[in-house]
Amino acid sequence: MAAVSKTVEQVGELESYKHGFVSDIEQEFAPKGLSADTVRFISAKKGEPDWMLQWRLEAYERWLVLEQPDWARVEFPPIDYQNSYYYAAPSTKEGPKSLDEVDPELLAIYAKLGIPLKEQEVLAGVEGAPRYAVDAVFDSVSVVTTFKKELAAVGVIFCSMSEAIREHPELVRKYLGSVVPVSDNFFACLNSAVFSDGSFVYIPPGVRCPMELSTYFRINAAESGQFERTLIIADKGAYCSYLEGCTAPMRDENQLHAAVVELVILDDAEIKYSTVQNWYPGDPVTGKGGIYNFVTKRADCRGDRAKVSWTQVETGSAITWKYPSCVLRGESSVGEFYSIAITNGRQQADTGTKMIHLGANTRSRIISKGISAGRSSNTYRGLVSAHPKAKGARNFTQCDSLLIGKDCGAHTVPYIEARNGSAKFEHEATTTRLSEDQLFYVMQRGLSQEEAVQLLVNGFVKEVLQELPMEFAVEAQKLVAISLEGSVG
């Protein structure tokens, strides 16, 4: 009975998109449009050293000659890159020194979003629950990072990217762009030129990060793009778990979010990276507005026995173009990808992963659950490759798609490239609709159709939800329910 009443309770909480508000906060912008001057403006605004400016300008030059990729199963009108702001920041005279100095208006916004920026608080409000250090990124800048002192005591560096460029230039210069090269692809290159902020994490050798690290991204300003850059380095034998969440206001225009995330994992280290993506998906009926989420995420398992695990719950955005990848370079390194992608209304998602096996005895595992409803399109696109030196490479991939309604699409596009005789790859995929029998059974027990669908969908995605840290799993389960609202009946 408890499960039923809980489900009923969740249904009661359903709202269509509760993060869609706009906050009226004083902000400053870069002049509209993109040119070398915009790049200089951003760099100067952040007080960057010359090497960083040169790096950005070089990226901008390369971006000018790159072409926007068109192979994904998504459709959108041409983007006018000149009709957008590339820098928007809440006005402050100087960066806040402590939490007490953060603009109370900003704190109020984060409180409304349910993000704890006060250090004593915990996400679920449960005593004894794990604590979270948060880096809050508002449009183009990081407004605050919590628990910095406590983390510094064990040698963990957790700060905004701007601060890392100032305080830890040797680490940034060594690793920035080493996983996702400047001209890796059109959007990553654009990000390299105009990225404004993001999180930087360094875990020293042998340290297990004492708390969960998280970044919360919020787009607020109109006609602006968000280009954050995250770099996480787990030195030998280190471990960290990192979470990111994102929301944006409801607007009729499309806004671009082109982020780059780079993970470097050395010998015996491990990074667990979880994402709950809930950008504004656009109007469910007309398809107007919403975020274009064009993101490059890549992990480089540089060391032997390194491990990376990507877990993503993708429910928002008008268009998602995202392939968190694992370069398995170190011997016996391990890559994992667990994904739930839900599309409803007019959303389009083309998402998946790449497992690139370069080292001997590398292993990877892909579990992808796609759910399409409304008039949406949901594509899994993933690459598994083994190079000649990747002796004994192993991969297991499972892609399941669920269709709810007659007007949506569910597509599975795996690429398999095996270049040596000892690699062993297995892939299986299914596409079905919700079983009538199961629905009938559950409804016969007294659940409404909507509740029944939720229960079955939660069962369908359970394998992936289990991989999320506990508090996130609860949030994600609710999000799954909200995303599918109105998809039946």
Binding site: W71, P388, K391, S401, L403, I404, G405, K406, D407, C408, G409, A410, H411, T412, V413, P414, Y415, I416, E417, A418, R419, N420, G421, S422, A423, K424, F425, E426, H427, E428, A429, T430, T431, T432, R433
Partner: protein, 346 residues
């Protein structure tokens, strides 16, 4: 970008390259620097690989066809041999029409015999299987090691039609055997099997597209590959279910054995589904022979080489066993034995 345009214009820049999504593993642009000239019809002896089966013979020789370029079935058990032959280092474009009239049945035995080095063959097949018709297409591509062949068959099916094909190939320098089926649903059924058995530096690409356009259609597909030495096998299978094509049941399987550390297998089994009342699935595996099975066989007194050959043959024969026509099936089986026997270590 297509081979047909490139041959027509004599312009190699029109060739598909790895930048074209559908040709990423079968790069012609990077291989062919110059489009060879055309050649005259050359006489070849009757028969070919399916000589043992009595049939009407159609020959495409160096891109030329004597007489009609159409195969039309009239009766309940027609058999036709279509042989594509190249005897010179020439460009050989050709189009052939195949019509299976309503209620009739045809066994099409299609062979590719481009034995000349540097031959560039491009065949377009326009196939129509009318309502209630039945077509079994058995393709045996036995090209020479230095020829390039592209064959594209477009198949349109009528209500209740039955289409079954088995594409068998030993590869070429570059070779693409593509089949596109427009599936009307309507209780029509499709079987799209294939096997590539490759050695040396050969390449073969089996590409298929089945588009389910109406309700109540079935498709089953089993493609297997064995690659040795520095060979490269490519499988691209796409099943499309159009909006409203409910109760489609489509299953695809691709399984490959890599027997050498320099061989390569690339696969892209796609499902593009736009209707919800469907059951679609695909499975894909790539790997080496099961060492435990070899150990088991050796323990029973079977020498290792023999055990490997036995397991490899058993792996491939699953495809060959599904060929409907007895004679064609046994010719295919003998071909597979020869093909695998010729590889190192077998």
């Amino acid at each position: 970008m297509s081979l047909a345009t490139a041959i027509k214009l004599g312009d190699p820049t029109q060739l598909p390259s790895r930048r074209d999504e559908d040709w990423r593993w079968t790069d012609l642009r990077g291989l062919i620097r110059q489009i060879p000239p055309s050649a005259e019809w050359a006489e070849v002896g009757e028969g070919g690989p399916f000589a043992a089966i009595e049939a009407e013979e159609f020959v495409v020789s160096n891109g030329h066809i004597e007489g009609w370029n159409a195969v039309v079935s009239e009766g309940p058990a027609d058999i036709a041999r279509l042989r594509v032959v190249a005897t010179e280092a020439s460009s050989n474009p050709a189009t052939v029409f195949v019509t299976v009239r309503a209620g009739t049945s045809l066994l099409l035995l299609e062979t590719y015999e481009a034995l000349a080095d540097g031959a560039l063959t491009n065949v377009a097949l326009e196939v129509e299987v009318q309502a209630g018709g039945r077509l079994e297409r058995v393709v045996l591509a036995a090209d020479g090691p230095d020829s390039v062949t592209v064959s594209t068959a477009k198949v349109a099916l009528g209500e209740g039609a039955i289409f079954a094909q088995t594409v068998l190939t030993s590869g070429a320098r570059r070779q693409r055997l593509e089949t596109q089926v427009a599936h009307p649903g309507a209780f029509a059924s499709v079987r799209m099997d294939g096997a590539y058995l490759l050695a040396d530096k050969r390449h073969a690409d089996i590409t298929t597209v089945v588009t389910h356009q109406g309700v109540d259609g079935t498709t089953e597909q089993l493609v297997k590959g064995v690659v040795n030495d520095q060979a490269r096998g490519v499988f691209q299978g796409r099943i499309v279910v159009a909006h409203g094509a409910d109760r489609t049941d489509a299953r695809m399987g691709h399984h490959a054995l890599i027997l050498s550390d320099k061989a390569e297998v690339d696969a892209k089994p796609e499902l593009l589904i736009n209707a919800d009342d469907v059951a679609c699935a695909h499975g894909n595996t790539v790997g080496a022979l099961d060492e435990e099975a070899i150990f088991y066989a050796r323990q029973r007194g079977i020498p290792e080489a023999e055990a490997r050959a036995m397991l490899t043959l058993a792996f491939v024969e699953e495809v060959i066993d599904r060929i409907g026509h007895d004679g064609a099936r046994e010719i295919a089986r003998a071909w597979a034995h020869r093909q695998l026997g010729a590889s190192d270590g077998l």
